[in-house]
Amino acid sequence: MEKQIVGKAFVLGDNVDTDQIIPAEHLVYDMSDEKEARLYGKYALSSVPLEVSGLPQGGVPFVAQGEYASEFPIIVAGGNFGCGSSREHAPYALMKAGVKAVVAESYARIFYRNAVDGGFVAPIEAKEKINDGVKTGDELLVDLEKNVVENKTSGARWELRPLGDALPIIEAGGVFEYARASGMI
């Protein structure tokens, strides 16, 4: 896993649930078939109401019409990101859309586990609310060694919570890799 993630931010509000991240009607594609699997990227965040998609203005589709991946590798959100269903398709869809990291104030448990144990995206917690200090399109630097995120466009900086117990699993690339490395399986 990269310890420094750089790229444009896509900003969302609080309580972005898994139905918004990947709507239920799209849960049928075969993840082992690359042609179908990329549809998860295409429809990532497609059910976020348009007026709050890409804050503060809104009206920004996460994935442009006709594309399968997003131009935004970092998602910035408020509290309780990924609440709702247990679908692993949610962090998976974000990964397929090219997301490297989500920086939010807090996560729903199942989304957090799925992101970590599947090795899909790093669910990073900020120590305070940061989604009102970032505009969609701002250039961010997420530094997992120093545990800070920097808004290169505005110059603002925030501290991140250390990943703690989740870090060795994320670094290993998921729970299977972790269990193999530690001799469990």
Binding site: P23, A24, E25, D30, G84, S86, S106, I110, A179
Partner: protein, 432 residues
């Protein structure tokens, strides 16, 4: 220092008597449940990770219920069910409740109870967020994603953080116009959709223990709507009688110690709570039915693991009996056992099924149906700018189908009262 019921079950399952809240422990899983949406990808991951020699850790402990996208022409959805069929055949696996056979059950969380998989003191993981429902049987149950499920499928183990517990006590029996759904919607308004994140929600008090198992399951079912890891109610005689009537497998009863430590405690007088709704677009957007009465509706929906149990239809029948619905109203029994009960149970000399038919409801086959929208040919699915009142559990944008639709969550009594009036109504207009 005492322990909560959840801490005791974690201690037993992990073999670590000192496991304290906040610590990660490895649990030995008693039951793994999956369904048609998450089963096929779980099996794929399991095969990929364990290779050609992938072995189910214990066939007796795995159970699969196709339930989500069942009665549809959608080719991808049907392919998923077919993949489960193949898997069951290849592995000579018995606990598979296939569609189109007499074994077909419907919604997994209800089927788990009916088929005797819910046993006090055990640990159940499922690839569905509402797996917390089974906690009504004094057991630890929670949802996980496919990777975690695949890990369990091969090893029978998974790591979990010992949760802190929150306690919710209801004093006094529920008045006739109130149901467990009102209680849990009331709690959600109190603590919001992330008020219990990473915690166990423990329900207690004579109000809770006066409920039957299905009503108790409505409480634990919606723990996830507050972000809870699990919901739990200690098993009493009512729970034991139910379990014994469904299985002869062993179980163990745990209870919280009097000096157990809680993150927080809430206490409510059940009779002071009013018929409650959650307004669009969040289950914690609480209001009373009285305050939103008169809101125009285009659809009513009675179904799902939350509101499609036999108790929910008994409530609805009380109001729909002898009345006609004023807007399209869908009745979706959660399981085939519930569907059969609709044909057997009577009220005022008519079967519940007859009452619903006479009232003008559309009765669908058992499955998750429009609770989560589903393919475009799903019965009861919200379209365009539908305004729906529903006994289901989630009303996030697009949850029941159309992104433009609005969904109100309510008890089966409130939904039935609203169906008759065509606008949101307080069930006290029909029941004193």
């Amino acid at each position: 220092m005492g322990k909560t019921i959840t801490e005791k079950i974690f201690a037993k399952s992990s073999g670590n008597p000192d496991a304290a809240p906040g610590e990660n422990v490895w649990l030995n899983v008693d039951t793994l449940m999956t369904h048609d949406v998450c089963g096929p990808p779980t099996i794929q991951i399991w095969k990929r990770e364990f290779g050609e020699k992938a072995k189910i850790w214990d066939k007796e402990k795995l159970v699969i219920f196709p339930d989500h996208y069942i009665f549809t022409a959608d080719k991808y959805a049907n392919r998923n069910v077919e993949a489960l069929r193949q898997f069951a055949k290849e592995h000579d696996f018995k606990n598979f409740y296939d569609v189109g056979t007499p074994r077909y059950k419907g919604v997994c969380h209800i089927a788990l109870a009916e088929e005797g998989y819910n046993r006090p003191g055990t640990v159940l993981f499922g690839t569905d967020s509402h797996t917390c429902t089974s906690g009504a049987f004094g057991m630890f149950s929670t949802g996980v994603g496919n990777t975690d499920a695949a890990f369990i499928l091969g090893t029978g183990k998974i790591w979990e953080r010992v949760p802190e517990s929150m306690k919710f006590t209801f004093d006094g029996e529920l008045p006739p116009y109130l149901t467990a759904k009102d209680l849990i919607l009331h709690i959600l308004g109190e603590i919001t959709t992330d008020g219990a994140t990473y915690r166990a929600m423990e329900f207690d008090g004579d109000g809770v223990f006066s409920l039957d198992m299905y009503e108790r399951m409505t409480l634990t079912n919606m723990a996830i709507e507050a972000g809870g890891m699990s919901g739990i109610i200690a098993a009493d005689k009512v729970a034991e009688d139910y379990v014994k009537s469904r299985t002869d497998k062993p179980y163990e009863i745990f209870r919280s110690d009097d000096d157990a430590v809680y993150h927080s405690k809430y206490r409510f007088d059940a009779s002071a709570i009013e018929p409650t709704v959650a307004k669009p677009h969040s289950p914690d957007n609480r209001d009373t039915a009285r305050n939103v009465a008169g809101t125009r509706l285009t659809k009513c929906y009675i179904g799902s693991c939350t509101g499609g149990k036999i108790t929910d239809f008994r409530f609805a029948a009380k109001i729909l009996s002898g009345n006609k619905v004023a807007v399209p109203t869908f009745v979706v029994p959660a399981s085939t056992e519930v569907a059969r009960a609709l044909e057997e149970e009577t009220l005022g000399g008519k079967t519940l099924r007859q009452i619903f038919t006479d009232a003008g409801c559309e009765i669908a086959q058992s499955s998750c149906a429009a609770c989560l929208g589903g393919p475009s040919d799903t019965v009861g699915r919200a379209v365009d700018r539908d305004v729906v009142i529903s006994t289901t559990n989630r009303n996030f944008p697009g949850r029941m189908g159309s992104k433009q639709s609005e969904v109100y969550l309510a008890s089966p009594l409130t939904v039935a009262a609203s169906a008759v009036k065509g606008v949101i109504a307080d069930p006290r207009d029909f029941i004193n």
